[in-house]
Amino acid sequence: MGADPSVMLFGLDVDDHKAIIGTTRGLVEKYGRERVFGTPLSEDAMTGVAIGAALSGIRPIHVHIRMDFLMLAMNQLVNVAAKSRYMFGGQESLPMVVRAMIGKSWGQGAQHSQSLYSFFMHVPGLKVVAPTTPYDAKGCLISAIRDNDPVMYVEHRLLHYQKGPVPTEPFTVPAGKARITNAGDDVTLVGISYMQVECLRASKYLLETGISAEVIDPIWLNPLDIDTIAESVRKTGRLLVVDNDWLSCGAGAEIITQVLEQVPDRHIQVGRMGFAQCTCPPAPSLEELFYPNARTVAARAFDLVRDNAVTWIPEERADLQEVEFKGPF
């Protein structure tokens, strides 16, 4: 926003005292109420406003504190934002960013927990990014803001507290490049959004059994860097995609299919993990079962590598504990 006066940021409560978990803190004071403002509860029209503003030369960032709320904006996103460049023969350009957060834990329940990024991956004309590290969160956001097409920027609520190295100066992480986050030889783990953290933890559990897991963070779901994943699978022969979403018609199905199309080896073993095929329950006992975690991921990867010959699930380790989201939000 400092570098480009055409960047505008708005959404429900971006200007309140909580400032979207601090991500928008001080922006009103710095850039003014015309460029940074809280909106009426009108997701549909405000998405249309973002599109219209983008057409006028503005680069809007539209913030949604829950991905679930985007269901109110699907017409504008799918029918207009995704299609305008194409259906107007290249005459229209829509540089806009939609920040959408996924909730988890502390009883987020049915309508505060959905990922839904596969909806957007399905539609030509949208880009989708789900960074998992501070470095990528910043670099991808700047890439998204500078992009001349609409970008869905997916944030996981728990990841907001992840720490890691990040330069203070502006930089970009280019669209369509995955990152190998842990090198390994026996199995390829692709962890999407928050499940990237669980996969990295799972790789540490797997070390106990002598299994070396290569962990990949796709970062961008569209464009998807299938080459990096396929290259890894050529080496390991095994692919487990752990999605932060339901499995049917999801990112995991897409990634596995593309890998198998690219690596024509019928001996490659594949697996998918993700949400249980039900609505997310708030009761802790059920919510625990709803999500994959580092231990269940490790167990599944172990099965893939050992051909289900023996079953194993690691004991919980305090040094690999999950980051806890302390409610209330």
Binding site: I21, G22, T23, T24, L27, E34, T39, P40, S42, D44, A45, M46, T47, G48, V49, G52, A53, A54, L55, S56, G57, I58, P60, N75, N79, R85, Y86, M87, F88, G89, G90, E92, S93, G125, P131, T133, P134, Y135, K138, L141, I142, S143, I145, N148, D149, E155, L159, H160, Q162, K163, G164, V166, P174, A175, G176, R179, I180, V197, L200, R201
Partner: protein, 348 residues
């Protein structure tokens, strides 16, 4: 308003639409057409109050608006024919006309959709201190959509330089307004948002223009927007397609007769002398014939066009030079390693 120019605009739209209806059965036009015949006056009246640089957003029934705002006629016919010389390179069709240099933004096939886009554009103009204004066209069907009311609220909240134009032709496809709304007083509804709202019942091109010109002048002089006009009008042809449909049962020919007697194209023409009128008509006919020939003689898009313009074609940024350190997350040591929420803040 210059009567000769008004007649030219009205007659040109009428004749373009009649030619589309004439050609349509040949199946050369590969696009659902929602003709503007009978509704020409609203677009012409409003666009006469606009200047180059002003912007309009319309609907799938926007042939009249496209032409009145100065859209390229040859590119319009070519688009109907699905040719690569079309205004959207054959990828939009009748419902998605566009002419950015003329200030005619791309139209939508989903009712109510462009209203919010128009509001956003007007907000963008205000934010960038640009001197222009926006006109948002939609039908009476669009006022049933929630996005319409959301848009009114935000447009008024931010006082954007915008004029809402509701072309009320009485029907949402085939369902009359009275079957969709119990108390049909649209201006009361809009007025409740604090927006000046005026109903123009006559369909008269000069009366509509007078009202809209006043609003446009007010906006240009710095008065806060938006303004709202409900312009009664009447669609002569079927909802989609080239035919009459007075035998379909949902409306009567008698209902149409009052509007046909009030035909703004004919009435404007009668204000001209015969030689003046004939000069206008001959020029328009020649222009239309040339546009049709242009469309006929143009090529269809080649195979490479299929996947062109899904995204901007651009050179990718170079790869970043970040080396992953194998961190497993958690709260970390905090030695200058900010959490993601701070990284997002920093990215903004």
């Amino acid at each position: 308003m210059n009567i000769k120019k008004v007649y030219r605009e009205l007659f040109r739209i009428r004749r373009v639409e009649e030619e589309i209806a004439r050609i349509y059965p040949s199946d050369k036009i590969k696009s659902p057409v929602h003709l503007s015949i009978g509704q020409e006056a609203v677009s012409v009246a409003v666009c006469e109050a606009l200047v180059p640089g002003d912007i309009v957003f319309g609907t799938y029934r926007s042939h009249a608006l496209y032409l009145a705002k100065g859209g390229d006629l040859r590119a319009m016919f070519a688009e109907m024919y699905g040719k690569v010389t079309g205004c959207a390179r054959g990828k939009g069709g009748s419902m998605h006309l566009v002419d950015i240099p003329a200030g005619f933004m791309g139209t939508s096939a989903v009712v109510g959709t462009t209203i919010a886009n128009a509001v956003g554009y007007a907000y963008g103009l205000k934010l960038q201190s640009k001197p222009h204004i926006v006109a948002s066209f939609f039908g009476d069907g669009a006022v049933d959509e929630g996005a319409f009311y959301e848009s009114l609220n935000f447009a008024h909240l931010k006082q954007v330089p915008l004029i809402f134009i509701c072309e009320n032709n009485g029907y949402a496809i085939h369902t009359p307004q009275s079957a969709r709304q119990r108390d049909v007083n649209l201006c009361d509804r809009v007025g409740a948002y604090g927006i000046p709202a005026t109903r123009i019942e006559s369909g008269d091109v000069f009366e509509i223009h007078r009202h809209v010109q006043e609003a446009a002048d007010a906006l240009r002089s710095g008065q806060p927007g938006p303004f709202f006009f409900e312009c009664l009008t009447y669609r002569w042809k079927e909802h989609v397609g080239p035919n009459d449909d007075f035998d379909a049962g949902y409306r009567s020919r008698e209902e149409a007769q009052a509007w046909m007697a009030n035909d703004q194209v004919r009435l404007a023409g009668e204000k001209l002398s015969d030689p003046e009128r004939m000069e206008v008509e001959q020029n328009v006919e020649a222009e239309i014939a040339a546009a049709i020939a242009f469309a006929e003689n143009s090529s269809f898009p080649g195979a490479s066009e299929l996947t062109t313009d899904v995204y901007e074609e651009s050179e990718q940024d170079g790869p970043d030079d970040f080396v992953w350190r194998g961190d497993t997350g958690g709260h970390g040591s905090g030695d200058g390693r900010g959490p993601i929420r701070d990284a997002i803040w920093s990215g903004c």
